[in-house]
């Protein structure tokens, strides 16, 4: 799209947005909006990426982070105008302005961040080379921080709240906080598979990691290169594609089912003894759904492929099946043609009429007597 059109639309959107600031703005005690209120606050990076630094106050006022002052996360901003930003926001920063009501300590995502850091996916925000392929928090947390449905809490609920909690604003904030957490925010199976596939189906990424592991003389999970493709061809994968929600998606096996929201952040490679897909833990993992699963059952390959390196048995089985199929087709079509020619030569007609199919004259003689 033309850059001029984008700019025009941005300005237009900004103008519309500015018109509403009076209704729902957040407290800008730090004066960030002095600059960041301008829609054209943007630049093109050296890599050619377009970055917008425009903050829409009325949108931000409805996000989950609405009560967090800018500099609780953007801790590196010490003066105005501020210096160029290097790392930016990391998600384990403590928010000094927001207290955890349970502990009284400054709130932070530290617990989940630590869990993630210890997982196979853990990395620093700024990484070079192959580590950069791993996901950071925002790789997966792309879910909208702004939920338009929360913009206007239902009147009949708020009317009831304010009977005791007289402050309407407090009641609305509380409604937004609780309603978002009560709502199911777990991704659907299809979404989970799509999310994991965004990296694990990337062949270039896979090649990079396979090569690196080989160079480092490090073992990589046997199924790492074929994880997504083989899943898609497995029963679990097919059923997920059909839209069944009870079938295992990636996380149902690769994460612990207890404390789901935490465990999905601490996924471990199958060679780790704590991984639910480690050899020793597989039966229990299968039993989450397949209650009659035993050791034999846990040996079934959930990521089946016909690659020669991965499964030589299946590779040859498929070859043999294909050869048999081709032979049968050629043999049957051949025999049918042969039979048609042979019997036609002897004088058979296509249809049985007037009591006989042998009405034609044969080159071999011995015709039907008329």
């Amino acid at each position: 799209m033309n850059i001029k059109i984008i700019r025009f639309l941005t300005v237009l959107l900004g103008m519309v947005a500015c018109g509403n600031t009076a209704q729902a703005s957040f407290e800008d005690d730090e004066g960030c909006l002095i600059c960041h209120k301008y829609p054209n606050m943007a630049r093109i990076t050296d890599d050619g990426a377009r970055r917008s630094y425009y903050v829409m106050p009325e949108i931000f006022a409805n996000t989950v982070h609405r009560n967090v002052p800018c500099r609780d996360c953007h801790t590196y901003i010490k003066e105005l105008p501020h210096k160029p930003v290097d790392t930016g926001v990391t998600c384990n920063t403590e928010c000094h302005s927001v207290k955890n009501p349970a502990t009284g300590k400054p709130f932070s995502h530290g617990i989940i961040y630590d869990a993630y850091s210890k997982s196979v996916h853990g990395r620093e925000k700024i990484e070079d080379g192959i580590e950069n392929d791993k996901p950071y928090c925002i790789t997966c947390h792309t879910n909208p921080l702004y939920n338009p449905k929360e913009e206007a809490p239902p009147k009949h609920v708020i009317d009831r709240c304010v009977l005791c909690h007289e402050d309407k604003k407090f009641a609305e904030q509380w409604y937004k906080h609780t309603s978002r957490r009560i709502k199911e925010v777990k991704r659907s199976s299809v979404e989970i598979v799509a999310l994991c596939s965004s990296c694990h189906a990337d062949e270039k990424l896979i090649d990079r990691h396979v090569k690196k592991a080989k160079d480092d003389n490090r073992t990589l999970g046997k199924k790492f290169p074929v994880a997504v493709k083989s899943y898609e061809h497995s029963f679990h994968g097919k059923l997920t594609q059909y839209g069944f929600t009870k079938t295992a998606n990636c996380l149902d096996c690769h994460a612990e089912i207890d404390n789901y929201y935490k465990s999905v952040h601490e996924i471990l490679p199958s060679r780790d003894q704590d991984s639910p897909v480690h050899k020793e833990n597989r039966v229990e993992t299968c039993k989450r759904c397949h209650v009659y699963a035993d050791d034999n059952y846990a040996n079934l390959d959930p990521h089946p492929t016909s690659h020669k390196d991965d499964n030589i048995f299946r590779y040859y089985a498929e070859k043999i099946y294909n050869v048999i199929g081709e032979i049968v087709i050629v043999a049957l079509v051949g025999l049918s043609l042969f039979e048609t020619i042979g019997r036609r030569r002897d004088g058979v007609a296509w249809r049985l009429l007037h009591g006989s199919s042998w009405r034609r004259n044969s080159k071999r003689g011995r015709d039907r007597k008329v």
């Binding site: 029963f235 097919k238 594609q241 059909y242 839209g243 069944f244 397949h290 009659y292 699963a293 035993d294 050791d295 034999n296 059952y297 040996n299 079934l300 390959d301 089946p304 499964n311 048995f313 299946r314 089985a317 498929e318 099946y321 048999i324 199929g325 049968v328 087709i329 049957l332 079509v333 025999l335 049918s336 042969f338 039979e339 048609t340 020619i341 042979g342 019997r343 036609r344 030569r345 002897d346 004088g347 058979v348 007609a349 296509w350 249809r351 049985l352 009591g355 006989s356 199919s357 042998w358 071999r364 011995r366 015709d367 039907r368 007597k369």
Partner: protein, 308 residues
């Protein structure tokens, strides 16, 4: 006509088993000796009713065929859009049945009917054979069991089709094609039932099999189910439909699957040995054949004298 050694043996066995009386024996022998030596002349000159002349399949077999082909086609029709879920043609088929979740239920339900048909068939042929053995009329050559003769028949038939033989081989009630077909279907059915059950009850199969085999078995079954289905569909489409619908003389269709009867010309051409038994078992058939041959002046003098 001078019967071959095999045909003579079949005829003698049939007459012995049916306790054919002396007068009938003479009648049969007379008719056969008066028939032209060239079998081609017989099947080319008889008159056949398109819907069939000679009894061949009991009502049980006809019901089983009906059940098998209805379930087979429904299973293919529901199974293929499940397996090839992402193909462009699968979506409308699944939608037609109410979505893939309904297609799966239909597939499994129809599979149960197919298994019933299979059991019904095994029951029928087992009890039928026991009954025949007890009544002394069992002849293994008259059954679907493959014999060495079938290999010879196949060779002879190929030679006939390529113009190197004057006659098609003398084949029994079930010829080599039918035997291959029957066992292909029986084997296919078994594979489909076993592999299908391994999808429905993977835990059961895993617990039965030794550890080293469990995974290989499951993988083989996952390959077998769609492969066997496609193979069966192709065999049905290319071969069975060719044989019963498209082959010259059978077009547009044989009515045997409904009437249980085969046409006279077909019986003599492809199942001559069974036709000999028909001559023993059905006296009316002897009369009919004699009249037909006589009207075309194909009976030799010997029989005419027998008749008077």
């Amino acid at each position: 006509m001078q019967l071959s050694k095999q045909a003579r043996d079949i005829l003698e066995t049939s007459m012995r088993q049916n306790k054919t009386k002396e007068a009938d024996r003479k009648d049969i022998e007379g008719l056969i000796s008066a028939l032209p030596q060239d079998r081609v002349l017989i099947y080319k000159n008889v008159v056949s009713n398109p819907i069939g002349d000679i009894y061949r399949y009991s009502v049980h077999i006809r019901i089983q065929h009906m059940l098998t082909f209805v379930t087979f086609l429904t299973l293919a029709f529901t199974g293929l859009p499940i397996y090839f879920f992402e193909s462009f043609w699968a979506e409308p088929l699944n939608s037609m049945m109410g979505g893939v979740s309904i297609t799966r239920v239909i597939h499994r339900t129809i599979a149960a009917v197919m298994i019933f048909s299979m059991i019904y068939h095994i029951f029928t042929i087992t009890l039928g054979s026991i009954w025949r053995i007890r009544h002394g009329i069992f002849d293994i050559r008259r059954t679907i069991i493959p014999m060495y003769k079938d290999v010879q028949d196949f060779k002879e038939d190929i030679l006939y089709f390529s113009g190197k033989r004057e006659q098609r081989p003398e084949m029994d009630k079930f010829n080599y094609k039918q035997k291959i077909h029957y066992f292909a279907a029986a084997f296919g059915n078994l594979v489909m039932v076993i592999s299908g059950s391994s999808f429905l009850f993977p835990e059961v199969w895993a617990s039965i099999l030794p550890e080293s085999m469990a995974s290989h078995f499951q993988e083989l079954m996952r390959l077998s189910h769609p492969h066997e289905a496609l193979l069966a569909l192709l065999v049905i489409a290319f071969w069975h439909w060719y044989n019963v619908h498209l082959a010259p003389g059978r077009f547009p269709m044989q009515w045997t699957f409904l009437t249980g009867k085969i046409t006279r010309e077909h019986q003599i051409e492809e199942h001559f040995l069974e036709y000999l038994r028909n001559l023993v078992e059905v006296p009316e058939e002897r009369e009919t054949l004699r009249d037909m041959m006589e009207s075309r002046e194909l009976l030799s003098e010997t029989d005419a004298s027998q008749e008077t």
